[in-house]
């Protein structure tokens, strides 16, 4: 057997393991548990003179220490891990992207289900092989899948005037969506299917129609729009229902009825009563 006395014992290693790994230089990285504390004396030791034979007198204050480094300090903590994605991961990136994430998250949610591989030098050299062309890729960006799932739950109230003539155009929907907190940077990406909707027409108040958005010229999202007829004079204005965006209205075009029924809608919350104070904008703020 190897002599055990030469080996410094560290942390949680048992005597048995230390005897087996005798020639290995022990560093904190080999330990299976992070338990290294670095300490410093709070006060200096009493001075020892060159010819002094006696051990200096040590009182209790010599055994007080300050902690310099703990296992949970910033320097000792596990650093974020770099991985290469093999597939599209929602909210993270496309295939072939190099991302840095929390090591525990990477291990459980990316490396074990084989959505990603370690960013070793060999893998990094081959990272470009995983990349797909724009046509092959299912989604245009890392967040577009989330958008497709969540956007249809929102209703866009479109304010249209009672006194002036209008036909609904894409910019009307762009401006109304912006008020609810949905930014559409490209006006050409909005489509309104069906025959043009014209006004002023009081009977259209509260009716629904569909607008189609194209995200990054790739994914199409159908959204419910609700017409709100707005009189310029406050006395003539239509009253506002509590949480009106949670109710399905009649379709403007009867052909769209099936599509509108399939669209999801935000759930009505009976505890949260929002009584609008005469203005539409307060209700819209709550909706966003």
């Amino acid at each position: 057997m190897f002599p055990t006395s030469r080996i410094p014992l560290m942390g949680g290693l048992s005597k048995m393991s230390s005897s087996l790994m005798a020639n290995v230089v022990h560093t904190p990285s080999i330990l299976n548990s992070r338990s290294t504390y670095i300490l410093e004396r709070a006060r200096p030791l009493p001075r020892i003179y060159p010819r002094q034979r006696k051990r200096p007198y040590m009182n209790r204050s010599t055994y007080v220490y300050k902690v310099v480094q703990q296992p949970y300090d910033r320097l000792m903590r596990q650093q974020d891990l770099q991985v290469i994605l093999v597939q599209y991961v929602e909210g993270l990136g496309k295939a072939g992207d190099i991302v840095t994430v929390n090591p525990n998250y990477a291990y459980n949610n990316l490396l074990l289900p084989k959505l990603a591989i370690y960013a070793s030098p060999e893998n990094l050299a081959n990272a470009s092989l995983y990349k797909k062309s724009a046509e092959e890729e299912a989604y245009s960006s890392k967040t577009s899948k989330t958008l497709m799932r969540l956007l249809p739950y929102h209703t866009i109230p479109v304010v249209l005037n009672q006194d002036n003539e209008w036909t609904i155009e894409p910019w009307h929907i762009k401006a109304s969506a912006r008020k609810v907190g949905i930014h559409v940077l490209n006006e050409a990406s909005i489509q309104i299917p069906g025959p043009p909707i014209r006004g002023p027409d009081q009977s259209l108040h509260g009716k629904d129609f569909i607008a189609i958005f194209k995200v990054n010229n790739k994914e199409t999202i159908k959204m419910r729009c609700k017409i709100f007829i707005w009189a310029t004079k406050p006395a003539e204005r239509n009253s506002i229902e509590n949480q009106f965006w949670c109710f399905k209205g009649e379709p403007v075009h009867p052909e769209e009825k099936d599509d509108l029924d399939l669209l999801p809608i935000e759930q009505f919350n009976p505890d949260k009563i929002i009584i609008p104070s005469g203005d539409l904008e307060n209700t819209i703020v709550c909706a966003s």
Binding site: S144, V159, R178, K179, I182, V184, L185, S189, V215, E281
Partner: protein, 353 residues
């Protein structure tokens, strides 16, 4: 044996021990003499006794909660979107150029939508009030009226009273629509109760007549003309013009957030051109920047955020400040230029000599 031990100990440690009689003669504490009866009574009268009031018990559900809604926005952990369609709540506030923001206000106020082409356009300016000084840590709130080039109908009540000795200026002021233009005689009349004061918001006067105006100080109260409020000056016509047509803004502060100031004000009407509105906003921003404390470091922003809005739309557009605010030059550069100027002066002096 014991005697020997005692001898050794006495030799090794010669400790001097005081006898009891010796130690008793020292005064170890200051002596308290009884206070005189008069001072005792006076001190007791000074003491304020706190009376404990009995408060009826109320359940927690019925107690009034002071809900503090902060105006501060922290977008530290958010980023900007990659997509061309996105939801605002997940990202940093979208930054608009001034022209772009105004165009989007004009969309919502279009005749086919809100039909308000003549609506007020407002702006919100947020500042950090930290001064980096020891004694005065934060700037106090203030109110100011800024002179404008492109005026508009602001719809506020700003009735003015003016006092001056010159007859020509008095007639000019009356033409401008000042509620009352007074003389030394009118001040005497007001003092006696012969002249009744109309309702007013601002009082303006010349420095010559200020001494006489002090007689009716009690009636004017806080509205008395002062240099600080810019209501006291030689050119009264200019002052009244500024007060009547300028933009009034007041920088406010939440008592719970001393390091943050904000002010909402109106910069014009929607039917004005974009250049005119931008110019009006720039004038106000210049006035706000003039209040910046000198102790603030150059790289720290004084104005933190500018928003543009117009009722009844709920939108607030964050505006790119780079085109509106001129960035101050670094301090090092200034020192260099000063040094150069001095050198030039020295050279000129040498030439003269």
């Amino acid at each position: 044996m014991s005697a020997f031990r005692g001898l050794i100990s006495s030799l090794s440690a010669p400790i001097k021990v005081f006898s009891i009689s010796e130690s008793a003669s020292f005064h170890t504490a200051s002596v308290f003499y009884a206070a005189r009866k008069g001072t005792r009574a006076r001190k007791e009268a000074k003491k304020t006794r706190v009376e404990i009031k009995k408060v009826a018990w109320t359940p927690d559900s019925k107690k009034k909660k002071d809900i503090h809604i902060s105006r501060k926005v922290d977008e530290f952990n958010l980023g900007f979107s990659e997509d061309d369609i996105y939801m605002q709540k997940d990202y940093k506030l979208r930054i608009f150029q001034f022209q772009e923001a105004l165009a989007s206000i004009r969309e919502t106020h279009h005749p086919t939508m809100y039909n308000l082409p003549n609506a007020y356009v407002g702006a919100t300016v947020e500042i950090s009030t930290i001064t980096h000084q020891k004694k005065v840590k934060y700037i106090d709130p203030w109110t100011q009226i800024v002179e404008l080039e492109h005026t508009f109908d602001h719809g506020e009540d700003r009735s003015i009273i003016a006092f001056c000795k010159e007859h020509e200026i008095a007639t000019q002021l009356q033409d401008m629509g000042v509620a009352l233009v007074g003389d030394v005689n009118t001040i005497k009349g007001i003092e006696r109760g012969l002249v009744t004061l109309p309702s007013f918001e601002y009082v303006v006067c010349n420095p010559k007549i200020l001494a006489d105006l002090m007689h009716i100080r009690g009636l004017l109260k806080k509205k008395i003309p002062a240099l600080k409020n810019k209501t006291l000056g030689v050119d009264l016509v200019e002052i009244t013009k500024r007060i009547q047509t300028g933009i009034k803004y007041s920088m406010k502060k939440d008592p719970k957030e001393q390091d943050f100031g904000y002010s909402d004000f109106i910069i014009g009407r929607l039917n004005m051109s974009a250049e005119q509105l931008e110019d009006n906003l720039k004038r106000v921003l210049q006035d706000i920047i003039s209040m910046k404390p000198n102790s603030k470091p150059h790289d720290e922003d004084f104005i933190t955020r500018i928003l543009l809005w117009s009722d009844p739309s709920p939108e607030r557009f964050k505006i790119n400040t780079e085109s509106l605010i001129e960035k101050p030059k670094a301090k090092v550069l200034d020192d260099d230029s000063d040094g150069e100027e001095e050198e030039v002066k020295v050279a000129a002096k040498a030439e003269v000599a």
